[in-house]
Subunit: 339 residues, 4 copies
């Protein structure tokens, strides 16, 4: 890190900062300019040491240099992480298409849609058993019953299932039914939950919080990895901005950014990311163009009857049409890159 | 709610929406304009019904009319809620000043600062035992030991203590030591936690999430109140915006807005809200001007040695000076309003 | 528009609003609910009438229903606008690639890069003669000399040129040299400038302001069109959000949204939109996937010597490689859609 | 500035950056760490040099150290700037209250409201003759006729008048009628306009753009000051955030921040900043608490008949009541600070 001293900082203040740095194990390099002195500090920075130096007398600001994440970074691990779920690889050559309704609403309907999306080309199934809802008066999910339906759908279709985990107390139960555990956007910084997930070996789909910076999102992954579970899949699902035409602003640039900074796979959720089904297909194709490893989309037999997030769900027909375009596009880009 | 039909909607589509509305128990009013038809629907709207109608064929958009919160609203309860903690009232005539270090770092230091802020005029003590930290490598709090120190500080000073609860599994323990339980900004939408807190009778300080709208914040309070606990104190602590000079943008206008929409008291946290101790005093005085019921500020003997959030902490001397100004200001405004 | 009355509104207040509406030429529809009265008003809404009713006694809020833009909307004009520049059509079957350095820095260098991007597949040339710079101490452009160099580059390459107009007083001069006039993001709401551009017949490339909503951006186009010039090309160049890893957040979803709401062509600027050359290729491919009509990118012989915006410029080699991928992708998507 | 090299940067790359720096007149300090090399560069940084080094091979990022503004900074000028308008001083001991309708709508009405706000304690008059409106179909101001009415109101009341300038072509005319020229939020980065205003000696009220950072806003002031006019008054009027309950989020913390970074006076506009008249009084009192030098508020005889921005206007009665509270508060704080 670099410590920028105030232009009026005294020699004694500069001396005090320097000895404090050495005391904390940093190597110190002084740059005495005309206007001000700058101190380069080489060593292991933590938030705490940065905070400490920011309040010493004569210090104007502390500039962190190294990225705060380690295990998630490409410096730490050059080759890309491929997350394995049964015979399926996320982050490999294939493009993964996770589909299903927002919430599991009932057995018959779920098994029906699971079959339909499989036929249309989905490679994994999604469906919420526990639903985070802004209002306490909204449908909150079928809970345990929903988990059982998901497991049954897996039996029938042979596709892995992914579902959200919201509370550390549900961990054993959810983990016993689902193949991939999803951390929702609202829980991205629920650190006790992240640590618990780090003790599993299940793949974790980590959604970006609606106001999380790229760095904070990667740090949430670092919580899981540093607790012992390297199987993290990042999921961009839109950030909160001033514009309200779409529900969120889907940050497609997060795809190449995560690829450049980390070794983890990344998928895109255009259903939550836009909140409008008419935008799901163009944004899915955009995700393919940007280099994503997959998408996660909502499909519902009858979107207007969905108990949760209807307006962003595709019909099975629209979904099938979209899957064809995605496959062609992904094939072309992959050949482009490798032939 | 109001259903705006597309300009090309057919008579059959309009008819379909109308009968669906009646089926769901709504009273229907049609307005046939030159360009389009608008349907007024009077009845109990939920998110689910709104979503349903948004996807019916021929519907352009659904406009919710009534506020989604009930128990938290001023319509529901005209008189202001006064939250009682021992002999102290939050939301009454007195201005509350909650002070202490960000984290409890050790027994001697905490007891010393507790005594110092009491002498300077603090009316409650703060201090984190469990700390949510962006990095897994940062100090995470003294946990149980921190809770015990807080309880001891209460014994000695006679002031109530407030501390953060992060995980439903800690509930009994934290509730047995603290007077007020704080929901941190990152957990504002941790709905399982909110429901659990609704089963207590302890006052809950509910911090606004960094990207929570006013409505989402009030809905989080609604979770607690509708689960049985009416003792909610709102706490504005800054929202996330594009500007990075301050750590967050402290939304002072949230104070009169919460006062106008709800019956709950609201306090302001200028330490987290700005991230810079030099801004704490002017923003505290701004909070008084805007009509807040109190402030929560960080005070540390030696901010540059704090293990967490040093740069935003006041020294006891600066704190004492500020308290005097706050008291004068609050006195003047209160007399203004009532004499 | 719809007028939502307060729940305690009196009969006299409701009557007053109704007669005021009729006086202003609106047709009135009353919906008397249990909790509150809602008034539907059919007629020509302006911002002024909306403001008026919002302040009448007993009114809680006014909900606008119709879009405020007319000439720019798809309702007004179903077929897509194709903007013609010589033999080139923007908004037709071909994907347009506008390339060149951020600023025109000198004659020899500009002619050289113009030739290079043409050979690599660019269909139009870009280059700033007047540069809006945050700092008064930064390079502000070659002004008239820059315009002449652009005109010379057009002579040599046969490609149309596009450049920014910043001040109405430069209009005649810039219009006499350039084929397309660009309104920069900072001037998107410079209404006097927009009106002047409406008096020309030159195509206008209208960049989205960094904090402009979709609606405000379309309203800026409406200024130009309603002043007489229908040749407007929309350009998404990133919006300002809380995240600072990229210079702006490129809102790719604006592409399908503009296509759905208006009849105008839209292109994407991934260079300004991300501020990092390594993100330009993936975001360009994302733009193709989302259905854009073209891209505008910065290319510089030697990005590290550029006088303006070097870090976001491609080298001619990287640009050439990218153009090939774009063309393949666009071809595939176009055939997909039409065969 | 500081140049952070990539961890894999070669010795040749480091050497190249160093010699380039020296060539550009920088003094170079190398810090060779275990993981990476950091180069401190002491000298006159411009955006262009920063951009240059950001693209050199082996460079990870360039961290600017010094503030980019000079003439506006407190380092440059320690004592506070007091802007004089006739006998009135902005930035001195007195709190200035600028009041009037959003737009000048007619002679009789304007003279009447001018008289009313004067009696209630306003120290300056506001009123728009040229109005920037999102829609081309909204009222755009009385233009020259409005300027004449403003001048007449000054004659009658003896109060200085402030009005907005939108186009450099109107400069002479507006400057011949108004005492203070206002740069609106949409024009904060209209650099040609700023330079022209720098050639006048009239005080300039510079509104913050809705998405301008603190630094960009100060840089806009730097444009005016460096062109020759030191009489700049900053005006906070709300920034654009994700929350839509208020029209903008009034950033009260900008008041102490501007005071700490610059020598210029700052006033607050709570009318545009919130968009709701019920929030104007609490936010005005907050501005006083935060240390502002004044406020600018909208007052209208009959807000529901205003042609522009009615919902945010106070009635003369509410205004008078508020002025009394403001004066008491300001008096108390001033005595606090100085006795």
């Amino acid at each position: 890190m670099i410590i920028v001293m105030e232009s009026q900082a005294s020699a004694a203040q500069i001396q005090h900062v320097s000895s404090k740095l050495q005391e904390k194990g940093f190597q110190v390099h002084l740059s005495q300019g005309i206007e001000r002195t700058i101190i380069g500090a080489i060593g292991q920075r933590t938030q705490a040491t940065q905070d400490l130096f920011e309040t010493l007398p004569g210090v104007e600001k502390v500039v962190p240099i190294a990225q705060p994440f380690k295990l998630a970074s490409r410096q730490f691990k050059q080759e890309r992480t491929r997350v394995q779920v049964g015979s399926i690889t996320i982050g490999g050559r294939d493009f993964q298409i996770i589909a299903g309704p927002c919430a599991v609403e009932g057995r018959t309907k779920y098994l029906e849609i699971a079959q339909a999306v499989k036929e249309a080309g989905a490679t994994m199934l999604r469906g919420g058993a526990f639903k985070p809802r802004t209002s306490p008066y909204s449908f909150q999910g079928l809970e345990k019953e929903g988990l059982k339906i998901l497991a049954e759908a897996r039996e029938i279709t042979g596709l892995p299932v992914i579902t959200e985990i919201m509370d550390p107390r549900h961990l054993d139960e959810v983990a016993s039914y689902a193949d991939i555990l999803q951390v929702g956007a609202r829980n991205m910084q629920n650190y006790f939950l992240l640590r618990e997930l780090g003790r599993l070996q299940h793949p974790i789909l980590l959604k970006r919080g609606p106001s999380a910076t790229i760095e904070e999102w990667i740090m949430a992954a670092e919580y899981i990895i540093s607790s012992g579970n390297p199987n993290v899949i990042m999921c961009e699902r839109g950030i909160r901005t001033f514009d309200s035409y779409t529900r969120n602003t889907l940050d497609i640039s997060a795809v190449p950014v995560i690829k450049q900074l980390t070794h983890m796979p990344i998928i895109v959720d255009p259903s939550h990311g836009t909140g409008k089904w008419k935008l799901v297909e163009p944004m899915s194709l955009a995700a393919v163009g940007a280099g994503a490893d997959g998408i996660m989309v909502e499909v519902h037999q009858n979107p207007s009857e969905a108990l949760s997030d209807g307006p962003q769900s595709l019909t099975p027909e629209n979904f099938a049409r979209m899957v064809k375009k995605i496959k062609n596009l992904h094939l072309l880009l992959n050949n482009n890159g490798e032939q």
